[in-house]
């Protein structure tokens, strides 16, 4: 036997061992149970097999755009005032166009100064038009700025959701952008079958904001509007809340607040639930340095005015500013215990930049998943056994060869799955079964070719050589074509389709090795042991 063949045998066995390691790693024991546990630890099962929840959330990105322009409205007013430029109002004319800001009533004489003031600061993100005879200016957020903001919003939402899911202690969650639309997020939570609690934590926008109070509490919206002369100016808003703290009653009340918040969103650095000296539930918060300065500035100028704590679109507390506050404080409000705990958790993980819509939810109970595994695995085993039996029957001695190659193919495929982070899904099991089909095909192609060569009178060694040489071309063509289609599936497919493509690609790669290389090694080994003139068993 030649040295080269020994090397090839060694290589085949080494590959086998490496992938067996991939499947089991170092098991705690050699009993069936310990081995099964080891497999379960290394091969990640998809949600359809082990149970869990799958959500697709759509980020309402227009909200983030709207919040951004709200901020800009405030700072434009500030800038114009600082530059001593007169104007009647800065507002957003159309609620359906969150990216458009309008400035009305500047003076004709100051037109060029207004233009340069606005251009200076806003031209990178906004297109400025107007400034004609009607002294009206329109700032429209540039499409590139809008899409950059939208992208940032989605990323920020992903980060926030991840923090929140982590705080729930879900193991191995998947949180990522979903392939179908740029504003969609895929959330996969293994082992969770009751979604309600999880969804509440994930989806709450629960933005905590502190706004200046313009007026209130009023009995209802009519009264609130009447108090500001029949209509609410665009830079103010009406917010409902229970008036218990401010008015001592539980009745619903309406406040008029300044639209732009003093502090809010990402201004909070930390928050902890607690109770105050009177035993009321409260949340103690700390602000970031920058926000602390802003807050100090505001509170020192507005001593003895009111500010309102708004959460989830409702006024939770109205407090009188007694002295300047810098970066820490406490909120006592009409909170329930759950709200206090959730609020502090949410403040710590940061607020969602926009609200989320569910557009798809799927949950699989763990016991249903387990049955799917059992059925899929049983089908796969039956399929493999039938095929192996047939190969032995049809190709006799060479059938052993094909069966060994097939077995090794499965070991490599599972080993691949063990080494990588790919998940095995139900369609993935189907991909395994298809791999078996392709593996058999390669062997059949080679064996049929060898038979043809033997029939045409070649000696066994030459027949094997020619058989492999001819079949090789076909095997490359068929495998590359199928890999091309599986790769396209992987690129364009979603969830289950991807799982299928993954096992198929791994399986085909393994198959190129086993059917062509290993099978050849076994043949060569067998040929080396044949007596001269003895025919090959095929």
């Amino acid at each position: 036997m030649n040295k080269n063949l020994n090397k090839k045998i060694a290589l085949s066995i080494a590959v086998l061992l490496i992938f067996v390691y991939g499947i089991f790693r170092i098991p705690s024991g050699l009993s069936g149970k310990a081995l099964l546990e080891a497999i379960q630890q290394n091969i990640h099962l998809g949600l359809d097999l082990r149970g869990g929840a799958h959500l697709i959330l759509q980020v309402v990105v227009s909200e983030a755009v709207s919040a951004e322009t709200d901020n800009a409205v405030g700072s434009i007013q500030q800038d114009l005032k600082t530059a001593n430029l007169g104007f009647t109002q800065v507002y957003k004319p159309d609620p359906n166009k969150p990216a458009v800001i309008q400035v009305d009533g500047t003076s004709q004489a100051q037109s060029s100064t207004v233009r340069s003031t606005l251009d200076n600061k806003y031209s990178t993100e906004y297109d400025l038009t107007g400034g004609g005879a009607d002294n009206t200016w329109t700032l429209t957020m540039k499409p590139t700025a809008v899409s950059a903001l939208e992208e940032k919003t989605v990323q920020q939402a992903i980060e926030t959701i991840r923090d929140r899911v982590d705080s729930l202690g879900v193991s191995e969650p998947v949180i990522q952008e979903y392939g179908l639309g740029k504003d969609q997020i895929l959330v996969e939570l293994p082992g969770i079958s009751d979604l309600d609690q999880v969804k509440n934590i994930i989806k709450t926008t629960a933005r905590l904001e502190i706004h200046a109070v313009i007026g209130g509490p009023y009995k209802d919206e009519q009264e609130a509007m009447a108090s500001s002369g029949g209509g609410i100016p665009p830079d103010e808003m009406m917010v409902h809340g229970s008036g218990s703290l401010a008015t001592g009653s539980d009745a619903d009340a309406v406040y008029v607040l300044r639209r732009q918040y003093v502090v809010g969103g990402s201004d909070f650095r930390s928050a902890d639930p607690g109770t105050d000296q009177n035993g009321r539930r409260n949340v103690r918060f700390t602000l970031t340095n920058e926000a602390g300065d802003k807050f100090y500035d505001y509170t020192s100028k507005n001593v003895n005015t009111s500010m309102a704590v708004v959460m989830g679109g409702r006024v939770k507390e109205v407090a009188n500013i007694q002295s300047a506050i810098r970066d820490s404080g406490e909120i006592v409000g009409t909170f329930s215990e759950d709200e206090v705990t959730a609020l502090s958790k949410l403040l710590r993980t940061g607020a969602l930049p926009a609200s989320l819509n569910e557009i798809e939810t799927r949950t699989v109970g763990a016991s249903l998943g387990a049955d799917s595994i059992r059925e899929g695995v049983r089908a796969a085993i039956v399929g493999v056994l039938v095929v192996m039996a047939f190969m032995l029957f049809y190709y006799r001695g060479s059938g052993i060869n094909a069966d060994l190659a097939l077995f090794l193919n499965l070991v490599i495929l599972l080993g691949f799955m063990g080494f990588s982070t790919a998940t095995l899904t139900l369609p993935g099991i189907a991909g395994v079964i298809l791999t078996i089909g392709m593996g058999v095909d390669s062997n059949v192609l080679i064996f049929e070719r060898i038979r043809e060569e033997v029939r045409s009178g070649k000696a066994p060694a030459a027949a094997v050589d020619q058989g492999f040489a001819h079949a090789w071309v076909t095997i490359v063509d068929t495998h590359v074509t199928t890999i091309v289609s599986a790769a396209i599936l992987f690129l364009f497919g979603t969830g289950p389709v991807k799982g299928f493509a993954t096992t198929l690609v791994f399986g085909l790669l393994a198959n190129l090795f086993t059917a062509v290389f290993v099978s050849r090694v076994i043949f060569d080994w067998h040929l080396g042991r044949l007596k001269p003139g003895e025919p090959i068993s095929i």
Binding site: E360, T361, G376, P427, E448, V473, T478
Partner: protein, 326 residues
Amino acid sequence: MELFRGVNVDWLKLKWYFLAFSMIFSVAGLIAMGVHWSHPVGGVRSPVPLGVDFRGGTEVEVRFDHTPDINAIRQAADAAGIKDVQVVNYDDPKFNQVLISLPEQHDESQLDTGRQQIVDALHAHYANTFADSGIKVDVVGPTVGHQLETKALLATLYSMLGMLVYLWFRFQLIYGVAAVVACFHDTLITVGAFALLNKEISLTVIAAILTLVGYSMNDTIVVFDRIRENLRLSRRESLHDVVNRSINQTLSRTVLTSGLTFLTVLSLYIFGGQVLNGFSFALVVGILIGTYSSIAVAAPMLVAWQDWRAEQGRAVVLPAARRPRA
């Protein structure tokens, strides 16, 4: 043991029978699709019955502890005021499983209410118990469903295009075209079978259809490879004879491989359970049709193309000019 030794069938003589066979099945499929198209389900027009993945809607699969009573479940839903509920038994009766479906919820912010209502109604009005681990829920909103539909179609087209380009590069354009036409033929007939039997097309079925495209392509390439090889060996033989000989030479491999793959897929169809039912059905049909098409559609097309070129009085180019690289 050997099957098909020294087979010598003139396959190309049978081409009119093949054409008739393909036409009958394609047209039957097309008619079934037309019928579906003209009977929209829940306002959605589609040539084939769509699963919840594409159609959108709510599907709750519940495994009860005892044999479920469909009528009692319907009454429970009525009592809770849930409209348009469909209740059917699902999978093997021994599992006590029921599939409850609701039509598409158009308001995406209300998407999840259907599931909640069903679970609440079952708890409130139906005495049979079930565990949380025995529930499977699919809620698909209109946005996702339609995106998936478009995506699945695109994926199929792209994968065919990818293979066409590869074959063009490895063989010649006409080989690629013939192979893709054969794949298209297989897809049409398989999808037609779903329409005829009123089986739903889900995401996993799409995976199966893409698999059968790859599989049918695989079969076709084996025959094409042999044609290319034979053309190089015997340049004086007519293409007609070369193609016949190539099909005959590869016949035993074709039947064996298809037979074995068919067996594995059949075991999937029989033992794989309800979840894999649509998937394995598509493959069972697809493998039969795919094997047939590589012999009866793809290879005859090569000959037909050359005959047509000859009739046009143009130079007959045997499609084997390029040597394989490997």
